[in-house]
Symmetry: C2
Subunit: 225 residues, 2 copies
């Protein structure tokens, strides 16, 4: 792939916008590229060398497998998000992989060690990156406290609202979301059983709050949400 294209892939990301042309060049040299199809599984933890990934196109979910073999969704990664060893520290215990949700995805990556070098040479990038990790932490803390204090119905509403804000397309008073998640996925994200999620979704449809099918979710009244 052309250096120029790589350049723009990084340049797009707000994290790297502070960098000069030369600095981005440096990152580009160490950047890898990959495409994958729906359903494909990308192993990244403990697989080979630690990397940081940038999702250029599509959606993936990060799934963790515990000792009993149960799968839990850790994160949903959208276009433009970073994932992988974001903490700059490998943890050997974490048994995680990424599964492609959308039809096809494009992923860039660089080695953790290379990225560290760049950070050392660019203190302002290092600072932005720290804030970026901090932001991630705040998001996690937030969903954590939702989990404690809100019931499953509220959690579903909050999730749909957040999803609509990041990815939904707004028309008039409605938000249309491309639905690449199954009800089981949604259930795992809001930490409830599949059955409960199904029930709550149907309830919301019956109440006219949302429209739902396998392709898209429509939030009807944005204001009341």
């Amino acid at each position: 792939m052309y250096e120029d294209l790589k350049y723009w892939y990084l340049r797009d990301h707000k994290l790297f916008r502070t960098l000069s042309f030369g600095q981005i060049k440096q990152l580009c040299i160490i950047m890898g590229f990959k495409k994958a199809q729906k359903g494909e599984i990308i192993y990244f933890s403990a697989s080979d060398v630690p990397r940081i990934f940038l999702l250029k196109k599509g959606n993936i979910k990060i799934v963790a497998v515990d000792e009993d073999g149960n799968e839990t969704i850790k994160d949903i990664i959208q276009k433009g998000d970073l994932f992988g060893e974001l903490t700059l520290e490998v943890d050997s215990q974490a048994n995680e992989y990424a599964k492609v949700l959308s039809d096809d995805v494009a992923i860039c990556s660089f080695l953790l060690s290379d990225f560290e070098d760049v950070l050392l040479k660019n203190p302002s990038l290092a600072l932005s990156y720290t804030k970026f990790v901090g932001l991630k932490m705040k998001r996690i803390k937030n969903s954590y406290s939702n989990l404690i204090s809100k019931d499953s119905k509220t959690r579903l509403s909050l999730f749909l609202k957040a999803w609509g804000e990041t990815e939904g397309i707004r028309t008039e008073n409605k938000i249309v979301i491309e639905n690449y998640l199954t009800q089981n996925d949604i259930a795992q994200i809001i930490c409830t059983s599949r059955q409960t999620a199904t029930q709550l979704l149907n309830e919301m449809v019956a109440n006219g709050i949302i429209g739902y099918n396998r392709k898209e979710i429509i939030i009807n009244d944005v204001c009341s949400f």
Copy 2:
């Protein structure tokens, strides 16, 4: 207070160990100092200028108040821990304060803006700091997944185990922990009601797994824990 003493307060912390004498000097100049007694409340979010704090002595809990006035424990800070605007970003919504748990505490602090300057001049510190924030994030993620998958009994066990490991004094096959938390505090930390926590603790005492009173908690059999 003497510059020398300040120097050692920072020098003790592993985060700052990579810094040269001169660099630590720089941080010392901007460092404030404070003492407080049991029960005292230290406001830090939204109070005045954003700061980062270092707890030198004692224990505090970070408490958040939501819109309904309910208090929830966000974190327990132990000697040597950092707290405050760790993400280097002020969030105005967060309504948090710190309450002193131990008899007395000593707290150092520096302004967020000053700390950013130091980070910009010391890329390797910036890198360590990012890893430090990342570690915090991992801990949060971990308790998050405990909350989902484990029942309250297991959560209590895990909490006591972790507490014993960080602060307990090991003698023979037992671990003695200085108990500065009420049952209500413990309940909030493991996200359950006070009654359930009481019940579980008494159950564990009855089974001989732990010894419990208001002053100390003793974990009897380290191995089986």
